[in-house]
Amino acid sequence: MPFFLIFIFIVLLPQCHGEAQTQEVTALPVTEYQLENGMRFLILEKSESPTVSFVLQYRVGGINDKTGSTGTSHLLEHLLFKGTHTIGTLDPEQETFLLNRMDLLEDSIVILEGKNPTSPVIVDLKKDILQIEERAKIYVVANEFEGILTRNGARGLNASTDSESTKYYLELPSNRAELWFMLESERMTQPIFREFYTERDVVAEERRSRIETQPGNLLYEAHLKAAFKVHPYREPVVGHMQDINNLTRRDIRSHYEKYYGPENAVVAVVGNIEAELVQQWANQYFGHLPRGRSEGTVAHAEPDQKKERRVSVIFQAEPQLRIGWHTVPTAHPDSPALMVLAALLTGNRSSRLFQRLVVQDQTASNVSSSLGPGDLFPRLFSIGVSIQSSAKAEDIEQAVYDELETLAQKPPSEEEIQKIRNQISAGQIRGLASNFGLALQLAHSTALFGDWRYTFELSQELKNVEPEMISQVIKKFFNPNNRTVATLVPTNSCVR
């Protein structure tokens, strides 16, 4: 293809295409429905395939875990797959009796630990608890909750916990949609947290799999801990190993009672289902639930950072680097410019840091950027680099600062920004193809920002970012005293 043709293509790209599309997106025929107890439903009928996606999102996550009890929200998420007082048991009465005995013994341990933490009785009581759990297992119908769903054809059945949310999701053939309402309402009202200690061990294994054997995630954990001194964003959602091992059924019950009321839940239903039917089932299965006592999320404000912080993780791994700067919550007016900056720096092959570090200097094999770990509180803008073993972390750091300084002094070109706008527009269209993706977006927007339109409108705000705004946010946030640098340093030792 001759070069001039390419030039024409670029120049002639229609720039309003995306705007029209966004208007269409925010005008999606979403039906909003709220029960008297505060539980909200978002329904989007789509008839392409006879399937339905469900996302139930609770406004509770890692930041709601108490100090010393990190991992509570996440363990609760696991335990909600253990069934209910009627699902997953052969003898509810006998089983409940044994579970209550376990709780009483756990209470005794707490009292004893307050008086004499080294008492040998504690060890005996812990053994007793595990023995009782083994006895209770004879009444358990293992994984019945999941089994009901999978044999009915459910796909993507899973859940996730992050800093501010816990989500439960699945897809069902549309003729079996009522099953979701029935099972989820039961899970919402009468979970039993059976097989507690076994599942706590499973979560400990999950921590080993996801964190303790994964250098990138270890570095991430250390980076957040160094960057946030007060705010709960500093704690790992999966929990510290010691905290996980100390969690009790009472902790979980208390957390559940505090945060799993209907007023704290948002449900998105997308697919081949009539909105009227969803409303009918919402009333039938959830309408009578009493409003809970969920409190808004309160977290200690992170004080301004006064000077640069640095942290290292030594591990048998290839080197990595993370640099983070404190910024603003997602809903802040500066947020769109920061998100466009992330795309500009590392969003694709022609982005500034990819070109500089991977293509030009060849000191990195990969580079990425992110804003997180949550949405509601001031976030960390982080740049992550996989460092080539022949390169020096300090050279890469300097290159990152140089590129930021260049952008601070001279805004990006209009063409650079337009490329990003075009991709945002196309991404919005592509996002409409997936029922599950739409359900996630509707639930997330509503649960965290109060309106399903929020994230769609945010996409529009991203497209309104002008080149000068990029320079402005860099000058505002990207100063040395506001940054935290975390490096993964390889060791030749086999033992960490």
């Binding site: 293809m1 670029i10 006879p50 054809g153 099953l179 097989e195 499973v202 299965y285 094999s365």
Partner: protein, 488 residues
């Protein structure tokens, strides 16, 4: 389309009340049963839908095209699949064969620099990817309908006149070497690679890329072009199109694309059968992490075919470890014992066996021997007696009731049917598959497991353990013969 649900009544209500009285829970039992209805009482009408299927067309150069129109969004997806992957080339060519599809994306074209290609793709917001597997190389493109012509022009340039820019070859090589170094530290990657090497020996199926495959002299642009000519030629090509375009609109464009791709100069040699490889034993790769990765498996002769054996293996694998928490492996290792976050199995059935039947999990170092014994026991039980009827029914229901999820998007349908064509399967293979699955019974499953697994469990198994060798050795020696493998 939407089915109504009928709720059965009195019996369910009576059962529920009885339970309610007995449990005495702190919360009122209202959720599932305000009207006394339990999940077992729900009845579902059959899901009626017409299975969408691609049209198959033959265009210029006898190229097969699968086409499925979908006007729901202003997008078009195109897929190209070329016969020819790593198994068709020698060991010393593996680096170049791996490089070619990657460099088709990043190496520019003869006329356009890599930077300009990137700029064009980003400017038009085109999603373009290239890849390969053992037997095929492939590319897919997704574009806004408005830019279909421009997208096709860029795609055609990359497929037919690749630039293989030396600078981008160097960049890719550096990235790949770094990726290999990082993989060397990842326990799951090490376990899978070691298992494949043990199972497939020095056969292409077991090869993985090594740093020495990426010698700069081998990655010469001319070498890349030579491999490119062998794979990316017309006789190897199958195309797929779906999205917001009509056949009459796309046909001339596809003809133009097919004409621009030269016919193949040669055909690929037949793939050699896989030799018998490593004997049974416990192969330990040492690392210093707090968790051990375990893979235990063996060869399987089950072939992808319209045959009871194949369908029994599929259902049997769901019962063994392919169906999440409900499978036996997960039930025993995770749910009952709390020894792992994830325990699963695979049963591969290629068109040319052998495949593998294998279980994989991770556990803390101190539980390694216990978990190996548990896996062994579960496998043994599968070989000893048929699964119970509920297990079989649940596995078949999972596939049957979830069948609709194979038809969620036209792109999914087209790309799947393209794969069927390359595997010499009929386009309606999925319907044949469902019918085959639904005819499987417990005895079929027992037969296939007893044919494939020794009743002695571990005896004919290859077990790979990536973990702390010094801590594990004495326990593992009690289970079987232990071989230490030095990390690469």
């Amino acid at each position: 389309m939407m089915a109504c649900n009928r709720l059965s009544t009195s019996l369910g209500k009576a059962k529920f009340i009885a339970l309610h009285l007995a449990v005495l829970t702190p919360l009122t039992l209202m959720g599932q049963s305000r009207d006394g209805i339990r999940y077992k009482d729900l009845e579902f009408e059959p899901l009626l839908f017409n299975q969408p299927s691609s049209e198959i067309h033959k265009i210029t150069g006898k190229v097969n095209v699968l086409f499925l129109q979908d006007s729901s969004l202003p997008l078009v997806s195109l897929f190209a699949r070329f016969r020819g992957g790593t198994v068709h080339f020698n060991r010393e060519e593996q680096g170049v064969v791996t490089a070619v599809p990657m460099l088709l994306r990043t190496g520019g074209s003869e006329q356009i620099t890599p930077d300009s290609i990137d700029t064009l793709l980003e400017q038009y917001a085109i999603n373009l990817s290239f890849g390969r597997d053992g037997k095929s190389s492939f590319s897919s493109l997704n574009t806004l309908t408005d830019y279909l012509d421009e997208s096709l022009e860029i795609w055609s340039l990359l497929l037919t006149q690749p630039g293989f820019s030396p600078e981008m070859i160097h960049v890719w090589r550096n990235q790949e070497l770094d990726y290999l170094r990082r993989s060397e530290r990842d326990p799951n990657t090490i376990a899978i690679r070691t298992f494949n090497q043990l199972m497939f020996g020095d056969h292409p199926t077991g090869w993985t890329l090594r740093p020495e495959d990426l010698d700069p002299e081998d990655l010469d642009p001319e070498n890349l072009r030579a491999i490119h000519r062998k794979i990316f030629c017309r006789d190897n090509l199958t195309l797929g199109v779906t999205g917001n375009t009509t056949w009459s609109n796309i046909l001339p464009k596809l003809n133009k694309l097919a004409e621009s791709i030269p016919p193949c100069e040669s055909t690929f040699k037949e793939i050699l059968p896989i030799p018998v490889s490593a004997g049974p034993g416990i192969y330990v790769v040492a690392n210093g992490l707090p968790q051990t990765t375990i893979i235990m498996g063996k060869h399987s002769k089950v072939k992808l075919d319209d045959h009871t054996e194949y369908f029994a293996a599929q259902v049997g694998n769901l019962i063994l470890g392919g169906s999440g928490l409900n499978s036996r492996l997960s039930d025993r290792i995770r749910t009952e014992s709390g020894l792992s976050y994830s325990a699963s199995s695979i049963w591969t059935a290629p068109t040319q066996p052998p495949g593998v039947l294998a279980a994989m999990t991770q556990t803390k170092n101190s539980s390694t021997a216990t978990v190996i014994n548990l896996i062994s026991k579960v496998l043994q039980e599968m070989a000893e007696k048929p699964p119970n009827s509920k297990e079989v029914r649940d596995a078949i229901d999972e596939i049957s009731n979830g069948f609709i999820f194979n038809f969620q998007s036209p792109a999914q349908i087209v790309s799947r049917q393209m794969l069927y064509l390359t595997q010499n399967l009929p386009l309606n293979w999925l319907s044949i598959y469902l019918k085959g699955i639904q005819q499987i019974n417990a005895q079929d499953i027992h037969n296939i497991f007893s044919e494939n697994i020794a009743l002695t469990g571990l005896e004919d198994m290859v077990t790979v353990v990536v973990g702390n060798h010094d801590m594990l050795e004495s326990e593992l020696k009690k289970i079987g013969t232990v071989y230490k493998i030095e990390p690469n």
